[in-house]
Amino acid sequence: MKYMDHNVVSSKMKSRLTKNKFFKGLFFAATMFGLIVLAVLLIRIITQGGGYINWDFFMNFASRFPEQAGIKSALIGSIYLMLVVAPVSMFLGVGTAIYLEEYAKQNKMNRFIKVNISNLAGVPSVVFGLLGLTIFVRNFDLGISILAAGFTMSLLILPVIIVASQEAIRAVPRELREASFAMGATKWQTIVRVVLPAAVPGVLTGSILALSRAIGETAPLVVIGIPTILMFTPNHLLDTFTALPMQIFDWTKRPQVAFHDVAAAGIIVLMTLLIIMNSIAVFIRNKYQKRY
């Protein structure tokens, strides 16, 4: 008795294999789509803005004339902003992570804190802008300042830093802690001298990646009311300022096409900054991260 007809099976098999090949091509094309878009975007921005990148572009303030427009105040403003965001967000983020990983007991309060952090991560950045405008700019009366914007940005990237630090702390093996306890160290001594040093590479990598998100974030700055045309650089933290993404936003909105080229040049500066930060993060991860 014949159960299977060889011809039927092989013809069916053939169509199934063709289908597999076809879809493999389709999935590959979809994967390539993202890569191609990124390539087009980068090439486009470099060809458009490359001509504007010169010494004057870094030394000039904003201007009505595209060929005289520069990025000085925005670049320095962004650096100032990072000088506030980095310590504030890392202090809060790492502190929260230590609490959650080392101290928090499994109770309702701590579960609530965890759920809250993951929900906070999903709040649109423009809503953080509204928070900053109301609480920091008006209620705390910080004005449209580096400090107000820095606090707002710190809260925005806080969930990212918390989660990254939690992972880094969790990756420190229990044996290290137990060895420390066995030597008579207290809990806090163990955390400061054993756990944190071991977790530093992971914490730094996550924090730098989060900061690179903050440096490109525009919406909260817009909502707070950061000006775009500024003819001076800030002197202290309560001064008003402008930042790279704000300046790019302003140039992009202008109807003159020449300003679009200036915006592209600004984007080159911003993206270069991002690439540098990301490279540092990857470098730290590869060089110092120990696998236990």
Binding site: A30, L41, R44, T96, V127, L130, L131, T134, E217, V222
Partner: protein, 315 residues
């Protein structure tokens, strides 16, 4: 004498206990958890701050504009001099247009990318492609906005001449591109966590790679894929700069995607970049819009959490 001696001599444990009960060290040990708890409470305070800010300012808005008009009104003309109208539906429709287009672009491409990376790609290809997707995810949204306005829109205009400079199609597509990495990487995580034994079982029965991917891996990873899509939708709803730059500022209660529109986020940006003074109805309206936006994204985030918890397949 001997009783005195035994009174004086104490065990090592007691010595440690005595020593650590005194002094700075034990005070630090007791203080630290409290300080750390206060720091951890900051994230909760942030949420409370957001919610209270939005609620208080929205209430002031509702003393001037009836909530019914706000929720059901189909006209949004806050800048009209004589009879301003505050019906949020046009802004919601604008947001939905962008989100809809973005989902149509990102879900097929994102899931296809995830299938390729998890089922077809070699380890080397994966190591090459995943960092590039991470770069794509790290591009600031203002850069995407610039790209939408100065590149995607002109390209689309050469295909559809009736398209205006500001439209829903181009920023919708670019928001889609922005959320592709999110869907791709979260879906891939869901797919790689499907145990290999299931794949091998299917291969042993003579399945092709495609059949394994579509009939074994995809169903097993559904909850993760759906959750990633819902999260991505939430991101698209809250996306601000791309739509502010490229979608225009004309709220309309229609389904046209070729003309200028306005989303909830873009309205907030329009008001805060303009010169509406503090205390005006327009000023308070951004909080009402922000509150609506917040509720939309909150529901989406909770839904994503629910899906990934409730429907997760445990192996």
């Amino acid at each position: 004498m001997s009783t005195k001696d035994s009174n004086k001599s104490i065990s090592v444990q007691e010595m440690i206990a005595q020593k650590s009960n005194r002094g700075l060290l034990s005070r630090i040990e007791k203080l630290v958890p409290k300080i750390l708890f206060a720091i951890a409470a900051m994230s909760v305070l942030t949420t409370i701050g957001i919610v209270l800010t939005l609620i208080f300012e929205t209430i002031i808005f509702f003393t001037r504009v009836s909530p019914l008009e706000f929720i059901f009104g189909t006209e949004w003309y806050p800048f009209a001099n004589t009879t301003p109208a505050y019906g949020i539906l046009p802004l919601i429709v604008g947001t939905l247009k962008i989100t809809g287009i973005a989902v149509l672009v990102a879900v097929p491409i994102g899931i296809a990318t995830a299938i390729f990376l998890s089922e077809y790609a070699s380890e080397r290809t994966r190591r090459f492609i995943k960092p590039i997707l991470e770069v794509l995810a790290g591009v600031p949204t203002i850069v995407y906005g610039f790209f939408a306005l100065t590149f995607v829109t002109p390209v689309l205009q050469s295909i559809f001449p009736q398209l205006s400079i500001f439209n829903a199609l181009s920023p919708g597509i670019v928001v889609g591109i922005m959320i592709i990495p999110m869907i791709a990487s979260l879906s891939e995580d869901a797919m790689t966590s499907v145990p290999n034994a299931m794949r091998e079982g299917a291969y042993a029965l003579g399945s092709t790679r495609l059949e394994v991917a579509l009939k074994v891996v995809l169903p097993a990873a559904t909850s993760g894929i759906v959750a990633s899509t819902v999260l991505a939708i939430s991101r698209a709803i809250g996306e601000t700069m791309i739509v502010s730059v490229a979608a225009g500022s004309t709220p309309g209660f229609n389904w046209d995607i070729t003309g200028s529109i306005q989303t909830m986020t873009a309205y907030i940006v329009q008001v805060t970049t303009g010169d509406a003074g503090y205390g005006t109805t327009i000023y308070y309206s951004i909080y009402a819009v922000g509150f609506t936006l917040f509720l939309f994204t909150l529901v989406m985030n909770l839904l994503a959490q629910y899906i990934s918890k409730r429907f997760r397949e445990e192996y």
